[in-house]
């Protein structure tokens, strides 16, 4: 029994492999039509054929007879007797579907009725094939054994004739399973494979009764009769198959057209026309039933079909690259070595050398982990391969024309993800066909090609796998989405008005939302995009959508490479530890107890954190986890003085929240050192960002995800569990689930953001604020900062009066502010920060004794009061004057020799290119004029687009390049650019747009207006680089056009 199972096992595996490819092959054959690739048809034929052979071998009659019929059709195709039109391919595809279902449940496959499919296939043939072929197909032949007795009955004549036509000999093989295979240690399946490699198996029959053998058979012999076609001569065949010659009987030779037929009397006596007629009659009966019957399963649930076929097909075995296995073996060896060493060390007294062994085991374990992960990686192609069929079927059903382009089949993902991503992707693809791509007539009107294209591609990005589904269809109308959302009560009218188009389109992922105006058969199946989103999120992924009305829609699914091991941050909430997946964490914020009341506010009865000018909803871990029983003992509280204060002022703010007070006090009792400070983990899931207040932070760790038992499945805040280093179990938090549980909605957050941003519609610049000497605050734009290092005072060396930091093998020059601008010297302290930024290729560090915050400051700063070389101006933040540093001016002063090098660079060709600069903020304008002039450009600054446009008209000026801000009064940068680019006099001048934030959307609009390049404001190097490049290019172009002129 177990052997039989094993046999089934390899049969199923092989059959699935065949079926996985067969579908796309059919489609390819169909597409090629008459000019099909013979090799491809042969390949499919062989696949189906071997399925038929093996199924006969295993007694799987239903599979066998269906495969047989499919094989007939394929045979006719490859003999050029049938043209593979969709009428022919359709029943083949359906046949393949049914085969797949049967393979999924092999043991019950014989109970499945395949007559409909067989009939459809027969009909396909009768529609096209010549009468002779059909006749031959319908004529049965019996093959008898040389020593008398029938070996095979009712073999289709065509089967034999067609092989002969291909130059094959047909043999009757008689194989004794015991003598020929078992005793010689040959596995039946291996033998079958050998047969397939040398020829084709026409029919097989297993006789357990030990029927008519030539030699005296053993009582327990099992004879396998095979009707086999091969190009080999009998002698050669005997040799290749390692069989006795007398077990091979020639039935029909290739050269001999009149093969030795021994038709049974019953067949010859029947007039030939009768069976033909009978078949036709049968067919005509079926004609009425056929269009309905095979359609049914397709129409009822095409997605269900797919689901059904993928669900049980979850493979129990996996193909692993031998190389990977070898690596695993090696690593296992290493691990054993390490263990031995460790045992040895443990037996010594002083445990010396333990460190190195621990390091080794650590390394081997990580490598082992990686290698094992690799075995789980599967190409996404196995999921993608079913989509061409889906697109084909669906588009023909909807009377649309649609091409599917697939890219990145080889991208690998963990098998759990591969298994889980099929359904959501199918849904997305179907959506693209159903809602995305328009009807051919509509497309024509819109002046697009009648055939829509859906682009499906998988690629790696930032340690994740992205899958993009891009269609060139109608896109999504944001207004329609809003109206609908309001209708459905998903958002209010006010919210709709405030909502950006982008967010409106994202509403598609909101539960209970379907964009189809009519619920179609295809998409209205009660499964919305929200389910797609949930499914993808369950896999640890995200999904986002972008659309351009009339042009198309792009859906991007981002997936982690693997699920089993994820980097996470371990935190404590109450008594227990929890893991938060690193992918969900965007930053950590710690708020000192003295600042809690100032930074945490209440909006609509919810706590929010003011973070860089935005309001971030806050959740307390204890609130979320509802673990009130933990601090049931308030009498033993020992509050410190400052805590009491804090608790008191919390009371003022929020008298309702008694249990928070209680919880805080509980925490304080536990952890006096961090009393009062709040650790906030800013997490992000989907479009929702919120802060989670935790009691304590531990390490960041790679954790192994363990599934939760059935009883815990309903806990929506949990994504799983893991086992920590000390053997304790910790729960993994589901960030999106928590938001859902706490009813924290994206729209609400959006609302809050809107509220905040209303009073800050002015352009802002994100700057890092630090204090130098006490009470002297400075800031530097964040865009300048390459990174921040924390160093010890003693690490600073002084070389020739210049302070340097020995660092990563090189020395980093350091700048002390008090040397260059009016500032008090920095106080003595053991550790300080260094803000590293780049001047050209050179890194420079600015000493910042204490970092204060990152803050959005308005760009119209006071450029007069504190202006000096190195300070651009000042602004007031939290009632303190903050001076904005110009790192370029300072470094120019500190390292004058660098500047000269750059001057030389810019003036390569001895000219002073003229730059027209349009920028409304005097701060930025001054900055940019400064550094552009510093490298040798001649700059004319204008305060808006209008002035710039007028300046441009000045005939005395000839500008080589334009640098413009985007947001400006009177005439904005894009209008200005548009004007420049449409004026023949100026169209050749390259335009660089600078903005403080260059979103994709902005860039797109910019490109449409004619902007040549986009740069982030104050990213000096990038801007210079791009100006230089554009100048060179335009000079080159000008040169070319001159040449053209002279030529003509």
């Amino acid at each position: 029994m177990s052997e039989e199972f094993d046999l089934y096992g390899s049969f199923i595996e092989e059959a699935n492999e065949v079926l996985a490819e067969v579908e796309n092959d059919f489609l390819e054959i169909e597409e090629a039509g008459k000019n099909f690739d013979t090799e491809l048809v042969n390949k499919v034929f062989r696949g189906i054929h071997s399925m038929k052979g093996s199924s006969g071998f295993l007694g799987l009659t239903s599979i066998g007879s269906l495969a047989h019929e499919m094989e007939n059709v394929l045979n006719l195709i490859r003999n050029n007797e049938l043209v593979p039109t969709s009428a022919i391919i359709d029943p083949l595809l359906k046949g393949a579907d049914v085969l797949r279902n049967m393979i999924a449940d092999v043991t019950n496959s014989n109970e499945i009725d395949v007559s409909n499919e067989i009939q459809a296939l027969k009909q396909a043939i009768s529609g096209q094939a010549s009468a002779e072929t059909q006749e031959s197909l319908n004529r049965d032949v019996d093959v008898s054994h040389p020593n008398g007795g029938l070996a095979f009955v009712m073999i289709k004549e065509l089967e034999l004739v067609s092989r002969q036509n291909q130059g094959m000999h047909v043999y009757l093989l008689e194989i004794d399973m015991i003598q020929d295979l078992e005793d010689k240690n040959r596995k039946p399946l291996d033998f079958l494979k050998e047969l397939y490699s040398q020829g084709e198996l026409v029919e097989s029959y297993l006789s357990t009764a030990g029927m008519g053998t030539l030699s005296s058979s053993l009582p327990d012999s099992m004879t396998l009769m095979l009707l086999y076609a091969s190009k080999w001569k009998r002698d050669n065949l005997a040799e290749t198959l390692k069989l006795d010659k007398d077990k091979i009987n020639l039935i029909a030779s290739a050269d001999q057209k009149n093969w030795i037929k021994e038709e049974s009397p019953s067949n010859t006596t029947v007039p030939e026309s009768t069976p033909a007629e009978a078949t036709i009659k049968e067919d005509s009966v079926e004609v009425q039933a056929a269009p309905e019957a095979p359609e049914k399963p397709q129409a009822a649930s095409p997605a269900g079909d797919v689901a059904k076929s993928t669900a049980p097909a979850a493979p129990t075995s996996l193909r692993v690259n031998v190389k990977v296995l070898d690596t695993l073996m090696n690593l296992a060896g290493e691990l054993v070595l390490g263990r031995n060493q460790m045992i040895q060390i443990a037996s010594t007294k002083d445990h010396s050398g333990f460190d190195s062994v621990a390091a080794k085991i650590d390394q081997v374990t990580s490598e082992l982990q990686e290698a094992i992960m690799q075995t789980r990686m599967q190409p996404i192609g196995s999921v993608f391969s079913k989509f061409p069929r889906i697109v084909r079927d669906l588009s023909s059903k909807l009377n649309k024309k649609c091409d599917l382009e697939i890219e990145g089949k080889d991208v690998e993902l963990d098998k759990t993800i591969i298994e889980g991503i099929g359904d959501p992707l199918t849904h997305l693809i179907r959506n693209s066909v159903d809602h995305g791509v328009e009807l051919p007539s509509v497309r024509k009107e819109r002046q697009k090609s009648e055939t829509g294209t859906i682009h499906l591609k998988a690629y790696h990005q930032a340690g994740k796998v992205n899958i993009a589904i891009i269609d060139d269809g109608g896109g999504i109308d944001a207004e329609k989405m809003k109206t609908k959302a309001v209708e459905k009560g998903v958002i209010t009218t006010d919210q709709a008005e405030e909502m950006s188009d982008r967010d409106a389109v994202r509403l598609i992922f909101h539960p209970g939302f379907s964009t189809a105006e009519k619920v179609t058969d295809v998409s209205g199946r009660g499964v919305g995009m929200d389910v797609v989103r949930t499914n993808i999120e369950n896999l640890g992924g995200t999904v986002d959508i972008e659309t351009a009305p009339g042009k198309g829609t792009e859906i991007i699914v981002k997936l982690p490479l693997t699920l089993a091991i994820i980097p996470s941050l371990v935190v404590r909430g109450g008594e227990d530890r929890f893991a938060i997946p690193q992918v969900n964490i965007s930053e950590l914020v710690r708020i000192k107890s003295s600042e809690v009341s100032e930074k945490i506010e209440r909006v609509k009865n919810a706590e929010v954190l003011r973070l860089r000018g935005r309001l971030l909803p806050l959740l307390r871990m204890n609130q979320v986890l509802d673990n009130k029983s933990m601090f049931a003992d308030p009498e033993t509280n020992q509050l410190q003085v400052n805590n009491r204060q804090q608790v008191d002022d919390r009371r003022e703010n929020q008298p309702v929240d008694e249990d928070i007070v209680e919880m805080r006090s509980g925490e304080d009792r536990r952890n006096n050192t961090t009393a009062g400070a709040l650790n906030i983990i800013v997490v992000e899931s989907e479009h929702l960002k919120y802060g989670l207040i935790v009691d304590e932070l531990f390490d960041s760790k790679e954790i192994v995800v363990k599934p939760l038992g059935k009883h815990l499945k309903d806990a929506q805040c949990l994504a799983g569990a893991t086992i920590l280093g000390d053997g304790q179990v910790a729960m993994i938090l589901d960030v999106a689930g928590i938001a859902g549980y706490m009813k924290l909605a994206a729209i609400e957050e959006h609302h809050i953001e809107q509220e905040v941003s209303e009073d800050q519609t002015d352009e802002t610049q994100s700057t890092m604020i630090f204090s130098y000497a006490s009470d002297e605050h400075f800031s530097i734009p964040v865009s300048f900062v390459a990174r921040i290092e924390r160093i010890q005072e003693k690490q600073i060396d002084s070389v020739g009066g210049q302070e340097v930091l020995q660092y990563r093998g090189t020395s980093l020059p350091l700048l002390s502010l008090d040397k260059y601008i009016k500032a008090k010297p920095r106080p003595e302290s053991t550790s300080l920060y260094v803000i590293v930024f780049k001047i050209g290729d050179q890194e420079v560090g600015l000493i910042a004794p204490e970092l204060v915050d990152i803050h959005e400051i308005p760009v119209d700063i006071d450029t007069k009061t504190f202006r000096e070389n190195g300070v651009v101006g000042s602004t007031i933040i939290n009632e303190k004057a903050v001076r904005v540093i110009d790192v370029y001016e300072i470094s120019k002063e500190a390292f004058p020799e660098w500047e000269q090098q750059e001057m030389i660079q810019a003036k390569e060709d001895d000219s002073h290119p003229k730059v027209l600069l349009a920028e409304d903020s005097s701060f930025f304008r001054q900055q940019m004029v400064n550094f552009l002039e510093s490298v040798g450009y001649e700059v004319t600054g204008c305060e808006d687009g209008q002035v710039a446009w007028e300046t441009l008209q000045d005939p005395d000026q000839k500008f080589d390049i334009i640098v413009t801000d985007v947001e400006m009064p009177n005439m904005d940068g894009l209008q200005f650019t548009n004007k420049v680019k449409t004026d023949p006099c100026f169209a050749h001048i390259p335009v660089v747009a600078v903005t403080s934030l260059a979103g994709q959307e902005d860039q797109k609009r910019g490109k449409e207006a004619g902007v040549d390049e986009y740069q982030v404001k104050l990213d000096r190097d990038q801007l210079l680089e791009s100006i230089k490049r554009l100048l060179k290019q335009s000079k080159h172009n000008a040169g070319l056009s001159q040449v053209n002129q002279t030529v003509s």
């Binding site: 008594e575 227990d576 979320v624 986890l625 509802d626 673990n627 363990k706 599934p707 939760l708 038992g709 059935k710 009883h711 815990l712 309903d714 806990a715 929506q716 805040c717 949990l718 569990a721 086992i723 053997g727 304790q728 179990v729 910790a730 729960m731 549980y741």
Partner: protein, 156 residues
């Protein structure tokens, strides 16, 4: 009810692992018990029904531990040094049942099992497979499946 009935080699003997809950002697067919351990470091899990005590790390598998006393409606368990986890083989996972104290393994003839009375100590009879009369007192045999399912039902 009788899905645990089987015919072992000796014909029809049942080995019952017995334990106490709130002073009451109960038993589970030993073939349904994977192991009995003293893993009492139970990690509580938020947002779960009261029946669920939490999870333990059973050699790398995260196993849910249920409060058997609670499921039987006998109040909340208290973890004492004598408490033990009965790890039960459920369909696709292992589940722990916390008991107060472990007692002997007793062997009975299957034919001696009697149908459970409508209620035993006010506990719903569907949790029981049957009862045995021992010298002077009763041993009630639990049906673990029913217990596990019951607490799942409560959840939904």
């Amino acid at each position: 009810m009788n899905d645990t009935k089987r015919h072992n080699k000796s014909g029809s003997e049942l080995e019952i692992s017995t334990f106490y809950i709130d002073g009451m002697l109960l038993g589970i067919d030993i073939l349904q018990v994977q192991e009995i351990n003293q893993h009492l470091e139970i990690t509580t899990v938020p947002h779960t029904p009261d029946d669920v005590l939490g999870v333990i790390n059973l050699r790398g598998e995260v196993v849910t531990v249920l409060d058997l006393r609670r499921i039987l409606g006998m109040g909340e368990s208290e973890i004492t040094p004598q408490s033990r986890n009965f790890i039960i083989k459920a369909e696709e996972e292992h589940v722990g049942l916390l008991v107060d104290k472990v007692a002997d393994v007793v062997i009975f003839k299957e034919s001696e099992m009697e149908a459970p009375p409508a209620n035993i100590n006010n506990i719903d009879s569907r949790f029981f497979q049957g009862i045995y009369k021992m010298d002077g007192h009763l041993l009630a045999i639990l049906t673990p499946q029913e217990i596990l399912e019951n607490s799942l039902e409560l959840q939904s």
